[in-house]
Symmetry: C2
Subunit: 316 residues, 2 copies
Amino acid sequence: MTLTSSPIAVADDPLPSWNDTAAKQSIVAFVEKVTQPGSPDFVPADERVATFDNDGTLWSEQPYYFQLAFALDRVKEMAPDHPEWNTQQPFQGVLEGNLKAVMAGGKKSLIEIVAATHAGMTAEEFEQIVTKWISTAKHPKSGRLYKEMVYQPMLELLAYLRANDFKTFIVSGGGIEFMRPWTEATYGIPPEQVVGSSIKSRYEVRDGKPVIVRLPEIDFIDDKEGKPVGIHSHIGRRPIFTAGNSDGDWAMLQYTTIGRSPSFGLIVHHTDADREWAYDRESHIGQLDKALDDAEQKGWTVADMKQDWKVVYPSK
Amino acid sequence: MTLTSSPIAVADDPLPSWNDTAAKQSIVAFVEKVTQPGSPDFVPADERVATFDNDGTLWSEQPYYFQLAFALDRVKEMAPDHPEWNTQQPFQGVLEGNLKAVMAGGKKSLIEIVAATHAGMTAEEFEQIVTKWISTAKHPKSGRLYKEMVYQPMLELLAYLRANDFKTFIVSGGGIEFMRPWTEATYGIPPEQVVGSSIKSRYEVRDGKPVIVRLPEIDFIDDKEGKPVGIHSHIGRRPIFTAGNSDGDWAMLQYTTIGRSPSFGLIVHHTDADREWAYDRESHIGQLDKALDDAEQKGWTVADMKQDWKVVYPSK
């Protein structure tokens, strides 16, 4: 509910941080045709579902996912209670700042880090940990709070869609409970409209108080073919608008747009090494290869960050 | 969006089908105090989450859950393609109208029936099957369409809460995809605000068309201690208002009200054998025993159907 629409800006130009290029024009043309009563492309308000990837689509994701930065910070904070971590990978690598040693353990290491930092507490405790981190942790390169590394043009797009009676959802490979504590204040997206990866949890009563306990076991991975499944499970209808930035969003783009008309697929292409980062086909984080190849044939709109966005981040 | 609020009724008396007894008075008092700016019990609009059980709380559930009636109808409709069912339980029992033989197989039989009738098709196909059934199938005793056996006082309660900026959710042990096709038209609750039990599903492309395929494997049971887990997973915040009618709602009532203030727990007590059914402690369907014992001590409001409701079903 912060950072979002000012009514005047919306009335005047709904997307003031977008240059007046093809990307912006196609977004506006789509929104106008689906909201125009009597138009053959009119879509009733309750079917205007829009889904957004988070990492690399709504906020930055370099040099590695911000949730990993959170996890590494947690390891350091928890280390005094875990002397064994000093000689035990992947934790030793984290504590020594040797990310190469951490990554050498592959997926297994990441799961160990997630289990140690994301499970074993109640949902409420985890929410407090995330809230504290997101309010204070800063990105080493930009010096901004991580939550200030959201994309101003995308905030405007979210607000523009909502002003046109779209319901906006996040559908991210990131952890659902890592996002929910701050998405409402940051994006105007309430917890119940956040879909993400999850670990299992259990209901119990502790000291007379009902709690949800977070368990060290993966429940659902909301990435690639998981995204349409997550959308189906949480939302129960196909979106008509989807935005992503990597091949992890390819299935969601396909699910949203193929054989579904009217529909809109948007790809954020990271082309701006000066203001943000430039990466696509070869990147380990946010690899964009197949979706970039397919965009033209599938009718997906590519937003070129350098060319199409007047600014990247909100002014502080 | 049908059957729900008429603005005049809301202005006049928000709950016209409720007698002016303690149950109604306590509901109104709760809504007024949490929506009154400046009140010590004021709750911001975006935290006004209300969750409703479905079977026995929003519509009837006797002589057995309506979803079971749907499944039995499906078995009969599918039988011509399954000659083996004539000599194979539990299907033989269904086809011969011998429910005792079906039930003799216990949970295993029910899972077989669910797998045969609820899985193996796409989500879209299942939605069409449910939509057709719910539009035409009638209850043998009342002669009404099943979807007309919803409780008028509860429709008014849903509308009253929404008029006061509550977000209303269903949290039911029933199948999430069995409910979603009709909850918006019937209750004003859109698919994304329905939480229920689910089977697993998979995303794939069939004949160039993206589809969600329903798999014959239980994913999640949204009952008892599962309800708080389902709420946590789908909604991501604790409700302040919950309505249920059986011990299956006990954990949800506890999660909503214990150590959470202000909060409201409502139990629909089936006491009206003339207009609906009368059952509680000994019933196999919708057993209400522990929650009835605990209601007074926990501060949960019991709505006595016979005493507190002027009408049960909407006039046709």
